[in-house]
Subunit: 277 residues, 2 copies
């Protein structure tokens, strides 16, 4: 693991690191904020998964998470959204290929070789965090934005014993029913719709997967709300399944980091409460 | 005045605007955060002046000022650091020309025609803010970073009746004695050193200009500390003049927005107290 940059911030350390990923078969860059409490012992870990087109850097620059993370003593880990580089499959569209990994393990060519973000986020990255940071791996939670909200929800639903809590900002909750998923899933996963359902939060809940509770914040002026996000699909699935969903509709807010940063502190406090329970 | 973008954030409105500047003779872009309290009446105004290479956008993305501004009900105005565009004088170096206006009115060619950031910030921009935003122009304060800290200090010292308070992050305090100023001032102002002293905080204080108090935060791992910033020059001038300087040396912090964002809230709270006194 190579250190790209280190900056003191909000009493902790904001670092950027790179390593050769075995899953993605390429160098992967990620950001970690180590809070000041790490000086006193291992801290709980909160993974933030970013949305389409983003790298680790968008939330690091614009997410405003360090103040709350330092207050609550939570380590924040921000991976990239896909493998990247020359020689790795790509697409000119913003919603396919590099920057659009959808947190799944692709099974169809040309994506299968490198696009293994599910295994990267759930296995390889934690194995890298554990020995290199002051992390208490018995206390992990996950959240994300948009495509990263989709990633957080599906990963938590499939691994309820690994993550103590899950939340999302403006998540894609039912990709198999909206254009983003209907474009990405056949490309990455082929035509087997049973496989698609393994990467769809609403479908996973319908198929019996469970978490105790979910926190979602959603702007009502989000430009993707009606066509791509449709939080009512998650609401219906949670109601039927008896999952305690808190869905905060936020008047006036859009899909941007101006929205995310506003409610970042609420989400970190919510996770911290559960990570320390 | 043209609205470039509007985003709801932290209960207020983060806007980006453009207008044809008479002083700079070119379109100028600036950012304004209007806090939620503007719904109840005019809010005090706090100008943030950015450092070398920056536009309005760096602090808007990375400064983390909206939370505190919304808490204290302060309007935050973030201008660009120079005129910009084709046909406007420039230099390939990062510390001359576009992005490096030094908040002065240039008197030497080729800069004199457009580089009038002093008049822009102190006269033209306030005259634009007053009719277009919910601003109480009887309550104005100013702060900034690095070159923008220099701008804030020199502007406040020259206009103590206009600005109720002044603070800075890692400011250039004595440009005539350090490489940045010794390069920029002869280019922008010619060889008349009396004119240089009009744009040097330590020299202005030596020459009798006064403010009641100054707040400065400075990282002790700042890569520019020894060669360019030298806060001890401001400290000496303030001590001799009886100006109440609070100089917080912050262990481990560098010159970046990771530093600025950490202490942004302290500065906004400090200004708010004085703006509301």
């Amino acid at each position: 693991m190579e250190t790209i940059s280190i900056n003191t911030s909000h009493g902790g350390i904001q670092g950027v690191y790179r390593h050769d990923s075995a899953e993605c078969r390429c160098p992967m860059t990620f950001a970690v904020f180590t809070p000041p409490q790490a000086a006193d012992g291992p801290c709980p870990v909160l993974y933030y998964l970013s949305g389409l087109t983003c790298t680790h850097q968008n939330v690091m620059d614009k997410g405003e998470y360090r103040r709350a993370a330092a207050e609550h003593g939570v380590l924040i880990v921000c991976p990239d959204t896909s493998p990247r580089g020359n020689g790795i499959a790509n697409d000119e569209a913003y919603d396919m290929g590099q920057g659009a990994g959808f947190y799944l393990d692709a099974t169809a060519d040309p994506w299968a070789k490198h696009f293994r973000m599910y295994s990267y986020v759930t296995r390889e990255l934690p194995q890298l965090i554990e020995p290199n940071f002051f992390a208490d791996m018995t206390r992990q939670s996950i959240f994300g934005h948009s495509m990263g909200g989709h990633g957080a929800l599906t990963i938590a639903l499939k691994n309820p014993d690994t993550y103590r809590s899950v939340s999302a900002f403006a998540p894609i909750v039912n990709p198999i029913s909206v254009p983003w998923g209907q474009k990405a899933f056949p490309a990455y996963l082929g035509e087997d719709r049973a496989l698609w359902r393994q990467h769809d939060a609403a479908a996973l809940i319908e198929d019996g997967h469970r978490v105790e509770e979910i926190l979602v914040d959603q702007g009502d002026k989000d430009q993707f709300l009606t066509e791509q996000l449709q939080p009512e699909a998650l609401e219906a699935a949670c109601t039927n399944a008896g999952i305690d969903l808190t869905l905060n509709m936020r008047p006036g807010y859009d899909h941007s980091y101006f929205f995310i940063s506003t409610f970042m502190e609420d989400h970190i406090a919510w996770h911290a409460q559960r990570l320390k329970a």
